[in-house]
């Protein structure tokens, strides 16, 4: 059986637009992190690219993250912005997150990542609020996010 899609790139003239999927809101946020990781494509030990996607044997670094926001939509962007800030500050990239608390206005969790010397993917400047949406379509949560690159 084919794996369920976690995210996909959508056409945009200058920036990177992604559609993110999740069976639950928690998985939607986890896959938002995956979409960012697969956009920046870190160059790191123990990681390799196959069919345009990066795989890492492990994520040895753990870093706490805590974000609050006004709505679940802005929480998703503020979460991804916080991840970008941590990436740039510590020269790390995060491929997984263990979410301990998730409500419409708060996320608390532990990011798991790798030390990074440089990237082979996009220089993501920011996660933007542009045309941001989170909807439940049938049984699936879907979000649209645009990264400024």
């Amino acid at each position: 059986m084919e794996d369920k899609k976690d995210f996909e790139f959508i056409e945009h003239t200058a920036d990177i637009k992604v559609k993110i999927y999740g069976d639950t809101l928690k998985q939607l946020f986890q896959n938002g992190l995956v979409a960012l990781f697969q956009t920046v494509l870190p160059k790191a030990k123990g990681c390799f690219i196959r069919e345009g996607r990066e795989f890492c044997s492990s994520f040895p670094i753990a870093r706490k993250i805590s974000v609050t926001s006004g709505t679940k939509e802005t929480l998703l962007i503020d979460f991804l912005s916080e991840v970008l800030c941590l990436m740039d500050t510590y020269d790390e990239a995060y491929g997984e997150i263990n979410i301990q608390i998730l409500s419409d206005t708060e996320l608390v969790g532990t990011l798991h990542g790798i030390p990074v010397a440089s990237y082979r993917g996009e220089d993501v400047k920011a996660a933007t609020y542009h045309e941001l949406s989170i909807d439940k379509v049938g049984d699936t949560w879907e979000a649209i996010v645009t990264f400024d690159v």
Binding site: H12, A14, T74, S81, C85, M87, D88, V116, E131, D148
Partner: protein, 483 residues
């Protein structure tokens, strides 16, 4: 996101098309696109003009929301747009109208030698520049600036670096704002933004940022070229970059702040990324102080790169080859400026997002040495084609708040660009044109292929014919260092 159809646009003069205020109920002013009919057909394929209509609905916007011929779809505001708000009448400031890369801009340095004289040193110069100026995502610089020292750079920009021994007073004279905005307030830049920026002064970054060695290929206006110190056949170095992680974080912090305060001002926006605050509110002033400090950081960044370039040139070409800064302009910025609107003098906040200031001859903001001919306007093209130096005009003051285009403007998405060319083919094509290419990212190189952009010659032709800047010289690349 919706698109605009051709019949909505009314041609009001050659190259100027208008979407009337009546097009959508929330528009406060018309939206104007400055471009040729052919360009317009292309622009209508994406949502750029719909985004421009959204901008035309911002509180306090005056005259028109403008799209330059290099416009393309962005996030919130289109890229290649100008919007001015009346700050004495509740006009707003919007971080999205300036961009995450605050004071992304261009610096041009000239060398007193010809491309022919450079000849045998070219490969050495290219390699030395590539190793002296860190480029690529996440690449930091050699110098670390933090604490009070970083705060002074945020306050005084490139000027602070001169007092620390980097670069010269002459570099400041030929820089927009003299290298720093006096409105900077480093206390409004978050500690996390400062932490991100502490090792990024003197670095290019990635994406469409670049450093190019160029030759002055064609002169269109001999008198102005001479005033700018530009001679046919001579070599220049162009640098395109901005405020790096510090600017990105500053914008993110303040957009978040404004999003959470929108209800306070009862602002209903067409897109959340247009988040804004009245310029004279606390949130508006906090952002303006932080934006100005981030802009100063960007000027310090390009100034430091200029310093590294100068050292490389000394070592490769000899100590008597003196580099001169021709000019340094910002194309992502918000400025408080006085303009005449409907015959009345107004104090405005001019948002330029992917647009360059193009001030006219005689204005005090133009360096004394250039004042008789107008401000130099630096327009980077694509790596396989050419770049331009233009001069600001009175027409720009009258039509577009003294603003003009900022580059070629993207027309193909990054994915499409990558699909259309293999990077090795692209490298060979560029080498075939005599252009040396340096860059670690093959993906990045393919995405910046010349065909992914509009033809910069067409863009500049429209600008020149509309009169919102005047063609002075065309430069061709010899070396391209990609971020």
């Amino acid at each position: 996101m919706e698109k605009i159809s051709l019949e909505v646009l009314k041609e009001i003069s050659k190259h100027i098309y208008e979407i009337p205020k009546s097009y959508r109920q929330d528009m406060r002013v018309p939206a104007r696109a400055i471009m040729s009919r052919e360009m317009l057909q292309d622009v209508l394929q994406d949502s750029s003009l719909w985004q421009l209509v959204n901008v035309a609905s911002l509180p306090g916007i005056v005259k028109c929301a403008f799209a330059m011929p290099d416009i393309h779809q962005g996030y919130g505001f289109p890229i290649g747009g100008v919007a001015a708000t009346d700050i004495e009448n509740s006009g707003v400031i919007s971080p999205g109208g300036i961009g995450y890369d605050i004071n992304c801009g261009v610096r041009l340095l000239s060398l007193p030698i010809s491309a022919k004289e450079l000849g045998k040193h070219l490969e050495k110069l290219a390699s030395s520049l590539f190793s002296a100026v860190p480029s690529g995502v996440g690449r930091g610089g050699k110098e670390i600036f933090k604490g009070a020292q970083l705060d002074r750079i945020l306050q005084y920009g490139a000027s602070e670096l001169v007092s620390m021994g980097y670069g010269t007073q002459g570099d400041l004279e030929f820089c927009e704002e003299g290298g720093y905005m006096k409105s900077a307030d480093p206390t409004k830049v978050s500690e996390r933004a400062k932490q991100r920026g502490q090792n990024q002064i003197g670095t290019l970054g990635a994406g469409n940022h670049f450093l190019e060695v160029q030759v002055i290929h064609e002169i269109f206006d001999e008198k102005i070229a001479q005033t700018f110190g530009l001679q046919k056949g001579n070599v220049c170095i162009m640098v395109h970059c901005g405020s790096r992680g510090l600017g990105h974080q500053t914008c993110s912090d303040h957009v978040k702040n404004m999003v959470s305060n929108l209800d306070k001002w009862k602002l209903k926006l067409a897109d959340l990324e247009l988040a804004c605050a009245p310029f004279n509110s606390k949130q508006g002033q906090d952002y303006f102080g932080a934006m100005s400090a981030s802009a100063n950081f960007a000027w310090a960044n390009r100034h430091m790169i200029g310093h590294h370039i100068r050292n490389v040139c000394k070592s490769v070409l000899g100590g008597d080859v003196l580099l001169k800064t021709v000019y340094d302009v910002s194309h992502n910025i918000g400025k408080v400026e006085d303009h005449v609107v409907d015959g009345k003098a107004c104090r405005l906040l001019v948002h330029r997002k992917g647009a360059t200031r193009a001030f006219a001859p005689g204005m005090v903001e133009v360096p004394q040495h250039y004042r008789s001919v107008g401000q130099p306007v630096l327009i980077p093209g694509t790596m396989g084609t050419c770049s331009y130096v233009l001069a600001g005009t009175k027409t720009a003051m009258d039509l577009t708040f003294g603003s003009t285009c900022h580059g070629a403007g993207r027309r193909l998405s990054r994915t499409k660009a990558r699909k259309e060319i293999h990077v090795e083919v692209l490298r060979k094509q560029l080498e075939g044109k005599g252009i040396l290419v340096k860059g670690d990212s093959n993906k990045g190189l393919a995405e910046e292929a010349p065909f992914a952009y509009k033809d910069v010659n067409d863009v500049v032709k429209v600008i020149h014919e509309t009169g919102i800047a005047k063609m002075v010289v065309r430069l061709k690349p010899l070396v391209v260092i990609k971020g």
